[in-house]
């Protein structure tokens, strides 16, 4: 039976508070004795902390950028017991089984019931996460010994878009947790082992799901596994791709080039401290460290003047509170969009007098069916028509900026305000849905966003985004494009305004539209045409209400 031991930093000699520059393993990884687990860097050299024994990493409790000293615990390792002591170690396995009252008492004493052998024991893994990898575990809801039911939330993960729960796929008793808070996991990473109770209905799909997924960590048996999973750079910054021409020109000796390749650093970007711009080993390390800790932005952000730092406490009492995680993550993305995209915002108004009258009429009956028929549903519908008319607004620039990618689908993102910060759920294939369907989906996604239950897939793939602040107020604003999309529609509060009809002023309900766009893709004339077209659609409520054939 496996037993769990602390992984400690070995004697580092004179060094203390040595910085961690790389974490080489994830929870659930199988390691051999002496395999490197984390890389430390002193001012003299970098060194790996090796695994004390072979086993499976239970947890790593340190992060890149942290510091450690000799004897510090950096995580826990589950070690397979030697053949000598299976009897003694079997005991803990039996214990949790009794409360579970599985009735499989015969199995308890079975010496075959060791980890890895098929029995009542199953390993639950992280399900498909869409594009995400190395997602952080921010909460663990269960502990060994807990009884869980199918769909119970096991752990909560947080991507840069939102938090999501990993549900149980089988019912049973938790045997062992394989992750802890702060671990990074990917699809297929083991979460925990469970002694499954007989759950015939749930078993077939559950058994099918973990099987292929559980294979994922298996290649770790050979050392090369590290190559297949690109080394996970810490979230604050990501090293830009290597420009081979620049790399080949850099003034750097072969050993410096090798180091740069190992760290994935582009020598063309590294600031040289040697004479005649010779790049030294330390220059490469400093560059990588600066990017990974976010001190230096990637190539795009370089050279921006900094906002002066001010000691606010000098002027009065202050209270420092950390940003929420979503704020921390959305911040750089917003800045990247703001800095990289030449933004222009076009303001316009749409006459929604008729639309609003009709909506008031339909609202009651819709509500009886549980559908809140909000103005936003109509705006989404009008946007679909406008995007079909102006496909460029639904496009994106290719990575090299040389071509436009026209999407043959319309997935609409809408900004949702939550306690944790701004999230953008996505209504897929909005062009295939009528107003009622859009309204129902708005309701479901908004609720999920508020409860922090949005799945990763529900926040990906938007081709255009709408930010409606109309429920709160405002007359106009300049939304930031959600790059790589090329435009965003901002909506403020509608007001009754006098509109000249040629003879007199009519009181009309006017909706302010603020359309921000990437000027590299959309020019001013197209932007006005887009908002004008949108306004016409919003005025034609009958067309908006037309059912999708």
């Amino acid at each position: 039976m496996a037993k769990s031991i602390d992984i400690v930093v070995p004697d580092l000699g004179d060094f203390e508070n040595v910085e961690i520059i790389e974490i080489l393993v994830n929870s659930g990884d199988r390691v051999e004795a002496e395999d490197g687990l984390i890389t430390l860097e002193t001012d003299k050299a970098s060194l790996d902390v090796p695994a004390p024994q072979a086993g499976v990493i239970e947890s790593i409790s340190v992060a890149v950028g942290g510091t450690v000293s000799s004897g510090d615990v950096i995580g826990r390792l589950s070690v397979e017991g030697g053949a000598a002591e299976p009897g003694a170690d079997d005991a803990p396995v039996g214990e949790p089984q009794d409360p579970a009252s599985t009735g499989e008492t015969t199995v308890v004493a079975d010496p075959d019931l060791v980890p890895g052998k098929p029995g009542g024991k199953e390993t639950l893994v992280v399900p498909e996460l869409g594009d995400f990898a190395d997602v952080e575990v921010i909460e663990v809801h269960v502990a060994p010994g807990d009884t869980i039911a199918v769909e119970d939330s096991l752990v909560t993960l947080e991507t840069d878009k939102a938090a999501m729960d990993v549900p149980a796929t089988v019912a049973g008793t938790v045997l062992e947790m394989l992750v802890s808070v702060g671990d990074k996991v990917s699809a297929g990473s083991p979460v925990l082992t469970v002694e499954a109770t007989s759950a015939p209905a749930a078993t077939p799909p559950a058994a099918a799901a973990p099987a292929p997924a559980a294979k994922a960590p298996a290649p770790a048996a050979g050392k090369p596994a590290a190559a297949e999973t690109p080394t996970a750079p810490a979230p604050p910054g990501k090293l830009p791709p290597i420009n081979e021409v620049g790399f080949a020109r850099a003034h750097a000796s072969p050993s410096v080039r090798k180091l740069a390749r190992e760290l994935g650093a582009d020598l063309a970007q590294v600031r040289a401290s040697g004479k005649k711009n010779r790049i030294l080993h330390d220059d490469v390390k400093a560059y990588v460290k600066a990017i990974l800790t976010g001190q230096a932005a990637g190539p795009a952000g370089g050279g921006l003047p900094k906002v002066p730092s001010v000691d606010f406490a000098k002027f009065g009492a202050v209270d420092v509170q950390p940003l929420t995680r979503i704020q921390k993550i959305s911040g750089p993305r917003l800045q990247a969009s703001w800095v990289n995209l030449p933004h222009v915002t076009q303001h316009d108004e749409a006459d929604i007098t008729d639309l609003e009258a009709k909506r008031q009429e339909l609202k009651g009956p819709a509500k009886e069916k549980g559908i809140p028929l909000t103005p936003l549903a109509f705006i989404l519908k009008a946007c679909v028509a406008a995007l079909q008319e102006f496909p460029k607004v639904n496009a994106s620039l290719s990575d090299d900026g040389e071509s436009l990618v026209f999407k043959q689908y319309i997935h609409l993102g809408f900004a949702a305000d939550t306690d944790q910060g701004l999230v953008v759920p996505v209504i897929r294939d909005a062009d295939k849905k009528d107003v009622y369907e859009l309204a129902a989906e708005l309701r479901d996604l908004s609720a999920a966003a508020r409860d922090g239950k949005l799945k990763a897939a529900q926040m990906q793939g938007a081709s255009f985004t709408i930010s409606s602040l109309g429920g709160i107020g405002g007359t106009a604003f300049t939304p930031i494009v959600n790059a790589p999309e090329v435009a965003i529609l901002g909506v403020s509060r509608s007001t009754i305004r006098p509109v000249w009809n040629g003879e007199s002023f009519d009181p009309r309900l006017m909706l302010p539209l603020s359309f921000s766009y990437d000027h590299r893709v959309i020019d001013g004339a197209m932007a006005v045409r887009f908002t004008t077209f949108l306004g016409e659609k919003l005025a034609d409520v009958d067309e908006l209400l037309r059912a999708i054939p």
Binding site: P224, A226, A227, F247, A252, P254, R257, K258, R261, K276
Partner: protein, 583 residues
């Protein structure tokens, strides 16, 4: 029946850049017969019928049009095509070419090994310097490795019929030449008596010792050696000609190259390639070397020392094409005095086997119209073996010259299959192959290695040796790179004089602004050994001062490198160089 050029569309007078078959070859349907090159693309003309090639009426450099005859073919299953005597060939459509070149790479799916005879994490095809280095390095990194070799001996061309045996013979040549040269200085041995059998035996013993060492090294690393000619059956499986199969997760292709032959030569034992020339069987009275590249000139050197009258014929305007002209001057002067003739800008227009010898006809202003030779060595280059492995079955793209394109990590278009050495493009040199081998093995084992070498040294082990590394003057002029050149004649080196060889020189090229060493070249005895220091300087980005302030032992030939650096700085005292660099 005739083989004809199919409809070429708009193209006329298209050049034949490669002749892929010879008379007597058996071809299958769709086997390429010749390669044409238009200004848009190259295309292979495939046979539309299976059979044996009887004759070829085109050769390299000829221009052809739609409908022209290429040659004649005896169909094997003749009854199939009753319509007439013309085998029409056809040109691939662009779509077919896209498919043939494998622009869509298959997934590196690890199919079940099934019933394969062998299985391994890594299989290396070819046990030459590239292949065995890759296999050994990968084994040292913990991979389970199979090394496949078609010949009974490990070591490939380099050990068996290339670098090593030729160096053994060149050593013999050097001893003979030096002994002869000493006669003028008061030490006379008399004319040498050459026992060709014994010399061959010694050469073979050198080879055998190295090859035996390789077998031992493979055993120590538990690298399994499998003999057979390998072909891909799928992206994860090889088939050998003995019927065995190998299932693999990753593969390194290191199948090298073969001597290219002139088309249409008579089948005669007196016409040999480099492999045949190394057999010294017999040592001819009169030898013609076709091709003035490094391989041809090295063998010319051996045979001249062993007493043959050597002639060299080269198609282009100079020996060792691509080499800086100043390097060739002392070399050419030295060999002109010793060889019967050197014919540049001369084309071999035909060969005929006659009883007195091989009758060769030439077309060139300094050449006789015809000459008769006891032996003809054809050394016109080597052809990559990339297209001999059914690589398309693994989805690996191979170009019409048999070369497999790779990235800086030596990966082919199929990510779990690597290619190194002669068939991976670039110079066909063992030291390049071994360097690539380590990169490929390390990447296959999960390390982040890249082929980041800035330069690959070139050496002709002729007498005198010619070696260069880094930037050459020809390249600098072509690319418009500013440089300053310093040449040190070996007449200024005491060591060179005491060797009785003052014709050589050492040349360094520097960056005028940064003083960095950009490249260098050496002509003279041991140039190949001396060039390594300049290679290190280029890789390290060394300045002239870094070299000049490194104490070079006296008296050695290596001093001449330091002299060149001092010459650039203006601190040289062993020569008077009026043009001072700077203050």
């Amino acid at each position: 029946m005739q083989i004809t050029v199919p409809d070429l569309g708009d193209f006329a007078d298209v050049e034949v850049i490669e002749v892929l078959v010879s008379p007597g070859d058996d071809v299958a349907v769709d086997d390429p017969v010749i390669t044409l090159e238009t200004d848009k693309a190259t295309m292979e003309i495939p046979a539309t019928d299976a059979g044996r090639v009887e004759s070829l009426s085109v050769k390299l450099g000829d221009r052809v049009n739609s409908g022209d005859a290429i040659g004649t073919l005896t169909p094997s299953g003749a009854a199939a095509d009753a319509s007439g005597d013309t085998v029409s060939t056809r040109v691939m459509s662009p779509d077919e070419i896209a498919v043939a070149t494998g622009s869509t790479a298959p997934e590196p799916a690890t199919e079940p090994a099934g019933d394969a005879t062998h299985r391994a994490q890594l299989v290396v095809i070819g046990a030459g310097p590239g292949g065995y280095t890759a296999a050994f390095r990968a084994a040292d990194l913990g991979l389970d490795v199979i090394l496949v070799e078609r010949w009974p001996m490990l070591g490939g061309v380099c050990l068996n019929v290339g670098c090593i045996p030729s160096k053994a013979l060149l050593h013999a040549a050097k001893v003979i030449d030096e002994a002869e040269a000493m006669a003028a200085h008061g030490v006379e041995f008399g004319p040498p008596r050459v026992d060709a059998d014994k010399l061959r035996g010694w050469k073979n013993s050198v080879v055998n010792r190295l090859v035996g060492g390789l077998t031992q090294l493979a055993k120590q690393r538990k690298v399994r050696v499998v003999h057979g000619l390998a072909q891909f059956a799928s992206p994860n499986r090889l088939e050998l000609d003995n019927g065995e199969t190998i299932a693999f997760e990753k593969c390194i292709i290191a199948a090298g190259s073969e001597p290219a032959m002139l088309p249409g030569l008579p089948d005669d034992p007196r016409i040999v390639d480099s492999t045949g020339a190394l057999e010294l069987d017999p040592i001819p009275k009169r030898l013609l070397v076709v091709g003035g590249g490094i391989i041809g000139l090295e063998m010319a050197c051996v045979y001249a020392a062993l007493g043959a009258d050597v002639s060299v014929v080269e198609l282009t305007g100079s020996l060792m094409p691509g080499t800086d002209p100043d390097l060739l001057r002392p070399f050419t002067k030295f060999v002109r005095a010793r060889y019967e003739s050197i014919m540049v800008s001369t084309k071999v227009t035909g060969m005929r086997a006659t009883t007195p010898g091989i009758e060769v006809s030439f077309d060139g202003k300094d050449a006789p119209s015809v000459g008769v030779y006891d032996k003809v060595l054809v050394a016109i280059g080597r052809r990559a073996n990339g297209d001999k492995l059914a690589a398309e079955k693994a989805g690996v793209s191979v170009d019409p010259r048999g070369i497999i394109k790779v990235d800086k990590q030596m990966r082919t278009n199929v990510p779990h299959i690597f290619a190194i050495g002669d068939l991976a493009g670039g110079p066909m040199l063992a030291h390049k192959a071994t360097h690539e081998a380590k990169v490929a093995a390390e990447v296959a084992a999960g390390e982040k290695s890249y082929f980041d070498a800035r330069t690959i040294p070139s050496v002709a082990y002729t007498d005198p040796e010619v070696a260069w590394v880094g930037l050459t003057e020809l390249e600098a002029k072509e690319k418009g790179i500013a440089y300053e050149k310093v040449s040190i004649p070996w007449a200024a080196s005491g060591r060179a004089l005491s060797l009785g060889r003052d014709e050589g020189f050492t040349k360094l090229l520097f960056d005028k602004d940064t003083d960095r060493v950009l490249g260098g070249a050496i002509v003279g005895p041991n140039a190949g050994d001396l060039i390594a220091e300049i290679g290190l300087a280029v890789e390290m980005g060394a300045d002239a001062t870094d070299i000049s302030l490194t104490i070079h032992p006296h008296p050695t030939l290596s001093e001449t490198i330091a002299f060149a650096a001092e010459g650039f700085e203006g601190t040289l005292t062993d020569l008077y160089m009026p043009r001072k660099k700077r203050g």
